[in-house]
Amino acid sequence: MVRVVELSSELSGKKIFERISLEIPRGKITAVMGPSGTGKTTLLRHMTGQLHGVSGKVWVDGLDVAALERKQLYALRERIGFLFQNSALLTDYSVFENVAFPLRQHTRLPEILIRNLVLLKLQAVGLRGAAQLLPSELSGGMARRVALARAIVFDPMLILYDEPFVGLDPIALNQVLKLIRTLNRELGITSILVAHEFAAVRQVADWVHLIAEGRCVASGTPQQLAHADSPWAAQFFGGKIDGPVPFQYPASALDEALGFVGPSS
């Protein structure tokens, strides 16, 4: 479904990816994991064509994303659902209008059909009763479920979840997990999860890519990665403080910075 080939990328002068390659199978839930700041979200933005790499290609459903014209790109985006970390609901529209937004923008469906579609999607995430609330009246977990309803209103072929588990209490976490699983199993929607909570990910993901330092350092099923002997996997899934991911941000030697050893001596 998604193939990233030898992608190199920079964000404001800083190297993010260095010839990264990975593949996302159709109809499965794939998790992209890695330490904070490795560019997991950036990877998603490459798949939606918001960012273009320096070299390399990103194929989504057989289309070279970077080569698409605006119209084709927008047509592709209509088939992709995207769940933002902070939900990104439009603050001056009600829950109902937020979910109806993509329908109103891209279709000329009669009002009654829009109403039924929106209510069905809201029912699927369990928030039909909240249709008339404003986003400011929702809790974080509810907002994320509304955003999910909005992402699936067009029955997309692919959903990208950006950090869907951050800041959720255990109940909301399980609700979101269940929704991700249901959407995949029952509608066959290919799902890509960006997350760093392994405990949550191993409950739903069929496949995991671990990226660090601009490369894909390990891939496998959650079970395989949990017991992998790669130092990256061992540190990340074991949660060790030091390892290939250093505790110290790159700096000069401490004694030099504190002035105990003069640079001249």
């Binding site: 927008y74 209509e78 992709i80 995207f82 603050t91 923008q105």
Partner: protein
Amino acid sequence: MKRLNKHSAIVDACYEIGATGWFLVVLLVAIPRSLRYLRETIRQIWFVGAKSLIIIMISGLFVGMVLSLQLYYTLSIFGGTSALGTVVALSLYRELGPVVTALLFAGRAGTSITAEIGLMRATDQLSAMELMAVDPIAFVATPRFLAGLISMPLLVAVFNMMGLFGGHLVGVNWLGIDNGTFWSNMTSNVNVWTDVINGEWKAFVFGAAISLIAVFQGYNAPPTSEGVANATTRTVVWASIVILALDFVMTAFLM
């Protein structure tokens, strides 16, 4: 760590002016695409125009009243108080109406446009639109720009009418100038094209400038609370300077 030397301040200002100019091109190019979001433009006219009416009407009333008082005093020195109607109307139509309305509009509507778009950027709403295949320039930026453009001349007309009413109230009902003199002197000296319509041209240009600056600042605000706050301040500062500068230029060439 702030670079506060004069050189970089000038370079920054030039950069900002240039970037705003480019943004105008982007907005204008997006107008055909934003026509399908006509409803959004109407909604924005409601927010920036209709909701500014109260402040515009009250301010217009008081400006007209004080204008009448001041000019009555000045005219009485020359024994020309019969020209009060003319002078009040001309001051309002040609100068005070467009400029005062524009400054109020920058403070009332400009800041709210900047803050709103800045927050939409900070909370990823603009990215979300892009990913829902809705162009945020056409859906968010251009409708607000057009709303400013359309609202300002209408607000100026309302401001002038209220000002005239206030001026009439003070001049005729309070200072005792003859009602007939007030009106006849005004109607024989005020010209539709050089006074009323040229004032409306000013309003149109000011409206475009304010909403361009407000949308640009919001769209380019750093996605932090400090960034949005600074952008809001810059909207007021830039808009005020640009209004007064444009006012001089337009008065020199138009009137």
